[in-house]
Amino acid sequence: MAGLTLRGIIKRYVDAPSDTLKGIDLDILDGEFLVLVGPSGCGKSTLLRIIAGLESITTGTLSIGDREVNKLHPKDRDIAMVFQSYALYPHMSVRRNMSFGLEVRKTPKAEIDKLVDEAAKLLGLETQLDKLPKALSGGQRQRVAMGRAIVRRPKVFLFDEPLSNLDAALRTQMRVEMRRLHRALATTTVYVTHDQIEAMTLADRIAVLDQGILQQVGTPMTLFHAPANRFVAGFIGSPAMNFLEAKVLSKGGQFSLELDPKSSLVVASSVIERAGLEANDTVILGLRPQDLNLGVGTVHGLVDVVETLGWESHVHMKVAGENFLAAVETAQAHDLRPGSAIQLELPTAAVHLFDPKTGVALAHGREPSDDDGSKGADE
């Protein structure tokens, strides 16, 4: 078992016009479960491959434990990886796919059989062990890929979207298995996913990557309540945060944010001060769709589309000419019709303020308290 230390990692592919990773500094603690998220093409797989040793590092250093491993061959790193493409060996049975890594490491036969059977049971693959990968469904293949990684008991796990092809039920089940496994083995894990729920529920910490730059690393709650910038704010949380441009108005020590001549909202001066804003400054106001009330308030909106998802409904509307989404209980949205005007209340505690030019977070309505660092009761 070992932690991972990444220092100033820059990766440029041969013939690529620019760096794919632009200086990654990251400490992953021993036994930590780090979830790596980011839009497609941001370099997540690249980072995993670098950790695995499958790609060379252009500059920077990578250490596993205290040992610098920049030049260490993948086979000597004792890492297990689940590839985005599964990379199952097509000519080997499921059993042998899983046992291959143990076999080349000269594990005794009896132990191999035991480990493989355990993993197969865990992943629901008992009946598939003698099939070839081509005879499996996408989801089954993905589980075999998982199995291949977990039988090995390595120092570090690297998962590249391991559950993306499973159906919702299986995914939930596997997610729980993942947590259980992690609790049992406490192996340092880097886990790439596009799934918000996976990210929020599995992670000790989440790292958000965009265009090869690490945007923020923190606990799920930190990222949710105190995103470091507009990108993280927009990326974490589903549905995504609303952003509106606003002007700061000051009337006798009372600060308010004007969205358009008709709509404005009053904000606590402490928030404006924390943000270092003055009257007439422009600012980006961020609000999560769940954090607002319909029916009363100082902001005017125009209903566009209402999507009913069950107990929750998404109300798409225009506020100050911008798209705006509210997620409310279905009961509240019941009599809304497209085209109807509506009043909104935006609570001060829920606002996030961002610099319009750099996107850096200036202030959050509610400052993170210490207990945000702990994980929610997800088990």
């Binding site: 695995a52 990379a87 000519h91 291959f100 080349v104």
Partner: protein, 799 residues
């Protein structure tokens, strides 16, 4: 519409069939003359024919046939009535043509007896076979001694002088040689053979008689000379050496003059007196004769043309064609106005004519050349061991079995480990070491062999090579068998038809279907089935004196008896079979290993200029293989080849590549590997592209070493694409005639011959034993059928 197309088709076919008929009716009116001349001689003969046409009003069609395969063309064209009426050719095939009824003797009513007195008697003698005269001599050729006047003031008069001069003028380090000629070529060696009183045929009995003291003495003399001569030189090298002033003397024929530079100051001299035997050195004489085809349409006109060219045409041929004509009146004073130098040379060639022996024109002579030359080679440079290929096969088999065991010690499919297999494999491989040692020792004592022994061996080989007297067999059982096979085939076809009918396959519109498959069927039949049937039938016949005699399975019996020679004799079928297996196995192994290695390297992302290398490596494949073969042949040249050049430069001794089985075989192998790896590389590259890189990455992360990744991941995935290529490659290699024929030419002693090139030798270099050659071809066919069936079984089992 269909029927109209069909009509057009039929009309085309009809026209095609008519074309030869139209041609032959046109021919009947004129005399057809074939020759193989080029350059001045071609011009001269055309001039002579033109003169003849103006004189007589007859028309003559002259066809210059390329030199290669000229005689084969005559032998095949004349019996079919497509040949010439009159042709010009060297005299040495007279016997064979006479036996095969290609040519017709000139009787006393054909020619006035006195006419013959005008030709040099040796040249007339050359054209006689079993007492009959078969042609008029046109020109003659024999070797003389060429010398560079700058280096040699006075040509040697006798062999003692010659030997002293050769010794004095030779300095191999500086590539200076006193004398250069193709020392292992019997044509040139005949000079000494006759000079020492030797002969090839016993003058009394007419039987081949090589094992004589005199012949041995001539070999001994050649051995003494060989110390000072460059090794394995060919005509082109010789003329280069002489032109460059690096060779003081050369033994060569009149054609050599055409290769010499204008400003080279050289002389020619009669070959020296042999002091040892007190006789004149006497090279072979080749007389070019005008022959009358046995199928000549207009005998009288043909004879007239024949005589005209030989006599009246002689002057034109001598002046314009620069020929040494056989018609003596040409040399009377004042007839020719040569330059003094040319006149001097002509005089020497004429003088040499008093000390020549016409090359025997008996059919058996064609089988004398190779064994005698081989004997000479052995006497000069040593003998290869006939057991070598067998030992090599043993070594390779041991290594292969050992490696298979070692690989099976960790099974790819199941991952099963069997440590005992590793041990067995190692032991089996280790057991090859003593065999390698043995092979090494039998090769290190490879010294020149006593001439008399080699000559006696040659004598035996020649007797073996002679076609045994054909015994007429009863064709009835074979015809019955053939009929039976046909019946069974018809039955099978009918059953398939019935079965399909039952399954509801409807045979409507069969005409259209037949029309569509017709071109392919015709093509298959004419290009594959018919030749195959003819070949099969041919293997049941013996070709003798122009006739095919049905002999049943005698050819096969002779083949499987290995010619009655020991297995270590290169004439034995089994010897050739082993060499062929070695050849195929080693080639394919090298092609695959090299191709695979290069493909794996070319795939690496760190390799710059990948596209460039890819193209570069495919080039050997893109060049016609005979050109590559000839280039390699040149590179393996003992004296001047690039490879020995490199060896010499790095301080190693040069290798006489074609003197020993292993080196000669290696030369072939290297050449064919050069030709063969690009194909495997391209196939592998394509197959590699289909293997996701992730698989190997996954294996690397799993902890597999580079070798394990290759063995357990890459190789099994490549196999399905590679195996068909391997099968194809082995079939090609098995029949890779060009390389053997052009690079080692079977040397030494036919030992590097493979089945297909051996078949060629039987057909065309050993008295046209077509039936026997066909039997070889049939065996090759069956071996390949069995091989490809076996491999496809294995492939199916694997899939």
């Amino acid at each position: 519409m269909n029927s109209r197309h069909l009509l057009i088709w039929l009309a085309c076919l009809g026209l095609l069939a008519l074309a030869p008929a139209l041609e032959s009716t046109a021919l009947a009116e004129e005399i057809l003359l074939w020759h193989a001349y080029r350059g001045d001689e071609k011009q001269a003969i055309e001039q002579v024919v033109h003169d003849y046409e103006t004189l007589t009003g007859n028309t003559v069609r002259v066809l210059a046939v390329p030199d290669e395969g000229y005689t084969n063309k005559l032998v095949t064209a004349i019996p079919r009535g497509n040949g010439p009426d009159v042709f010009i050719a060297a005299h040495d095939q007279t016997g064979s043509w006479s036996e095969n009824k290609i040519i017709s003797p000139l009787g006393s009513d054909d020619l006035p007896e006195a006419l013959l007195d005008d030709f040099h008697p040796q040249t007339v003698e050359a054209l006689r076979y079993k007492g009959d005269l078969y042609g008029l001599p046109v020109a003659f050729k024999s070797s003389v001694l060429f010398y560079n006047k700058k280096l040699v003031s006075q040509p040697p008069k006798d062999t003692v002088e010659l030997m002293a001069m050769v010794e004095a003028l030779t300095n191999p380090e500086a590539q200076k040689y006193g004398l250069v000629y193709e020392i292992t070529n019997l044509y040139f060696h005949s000079t000494w053979l006759h000079g020492f009183g030797g002969h090839i045929f016993d003058p009394d009995t007419g039987a081949i008689d090589l094992g004589t003291e005199e012949n041995a003495a001539s070999f001994e003399f050649a051995r003494r000379l060989s110390v000072f001569l460059p090794h394995d030189v060919d005509g082109a090298r010789i003329s280069k050496l002489f032109n460059d002033g690096d060779a003081a003397m050369v033994i060569n024929g009149p054609w050599f003059m055409a290769q010499l530079g204008e400003d080279l100051d050289y002389g020619v001299a009669v070959l020296p007196f042999v002091t040892e035997s007190r006789q004149w050195a006497a090279p072979f004489l080749t007389a070019e004769g005008l022959f009358l085809s046995s199928e000549a349409h207009n005998r009288k006109a043909s004879l007239e043309l024949l005589t005209y060219i030989a006599c009246e045409g002689a002057l034109t041929r001598a002046t314009l064609g620069k020929q040494m004509v056989a018609y003596l009146p040409t040399y009377e004073p004042g007839v020719l106005n040569d330059s003094p130098a040319a006149a001097e040379r002509r005089a020497v060639f004429l003088a040499q004519l008093d000390h020549v022996v016409p090359t025997s024109n008996r059919p058996e002579m064609s089988s004398v050349w190779a064994p005698t030359q081989q004997a000479l080679r052995k006497a000069l440079y040593g003998a290869p061991s006939g057991a070598t290929p067998y030992w090599m096969l043993v070594i390779i088999a041991l290594l292969a079995v050992g490696v298979v065991f070692m690989l099976k010690a960790h099974d790819v499919r199941t991952g099963l480990r069997r440590p005992s297999f590793m041990l067995i494999g190692l032991l089996v491989c280790a057991s090859a070491i003593p065999v390698i040692w043995h092979l090494f020792t039998i090769h290190s004592d490879d010294t020149a062999v006593d001439p008399l022994t080699t000559l006696r061996e040659a004598q035996t080989r020649i007797e073996v090579v002679q076609a045994p007297a054909a015994i007429q067999a009863n064709p009835a059982p074979f015809v019955a068998l053939f009929g039976l096979v046909m019946l069974i085939l018809a039955g099978l076809a009918y059953r398939a038809y019935q079965k399909n009918k039952k399954r509801g396959v409807e045979y409507t519109d069969t005409k259209v279907a037949a029309f569509y498959v017709a071109p392919a069927t015709i093509g298959m039949f004419t290009l594959v089935i018919a030749p195959f049937l003819v070949g099969t039938a041919l293997s049941l016949f013996s070709y003798e004196r122009g006739e095919f005699i049905f002999v049943g399975l005698q050819n096969f019996a002779r083949l499987f008896s290995g010619e009655g020679t020991p297995l270590t004799d290169s004439l034995s079928f089994y010897f050739t079979l082993v060499v062929t297996i070695l050849w195929t196995g080693l080639n394919v192994f090298l092609h695959v290993t090299i191709g695979l290695t290069l493909a794996l390297i070319l795939r690496e992302p760190w390799l710059k200029l990948r596209g460039f290398f890819r193209v570069l490596l495919i080039i050997p494949w893109a060049i016609p293989n005979y050109i590559t073969a000839l280039i390699w042949r040149g590179m393996f040249d003992y004296e001047f080849g690039a490879i020995n050049g490199i060896l010499k430069n790095i301080g190693l001794t040069p290798v006489a590549w074609f003197d020993d089985f292993i080196t000669s075989f290696s030369a072939n192998l290297i050449t064919n590997t050069w030709l063969g790896f690009p194909f495997m590389m391209v196939v592998t590259l394509g197959a590699l592209q289909a293997i996701p890189r992730d698989l190997e990455d996954a294996a690397a992360v799993d902890g597999a070493s580079a070798w394990q990744r290759f063995r357990f991941i890459t190789m099994p995935l490549l196999k399905p694409a590679l195996m068909p290529a391997v099968v194809l490659g082995s079939v090609w290699t098995f029949n890779m005639f060009n390389i053997i024929y052009l690079v080692s030419q079977g040397n030494p002693d036919s030992s590097t011959e493979i089945l297909i090139s051996e078949a060629y030798k039987w057909a065309f270099e050993r008295q046209y034993q077509y039936g026997y050659a066909a039997a070889y071809a049939i065996i090759v066919f069956f071996i390949l059928v069995v091989y490809s069936r076996m491999t496809s079984r294995i492939l199916e089992a694997d899939a």
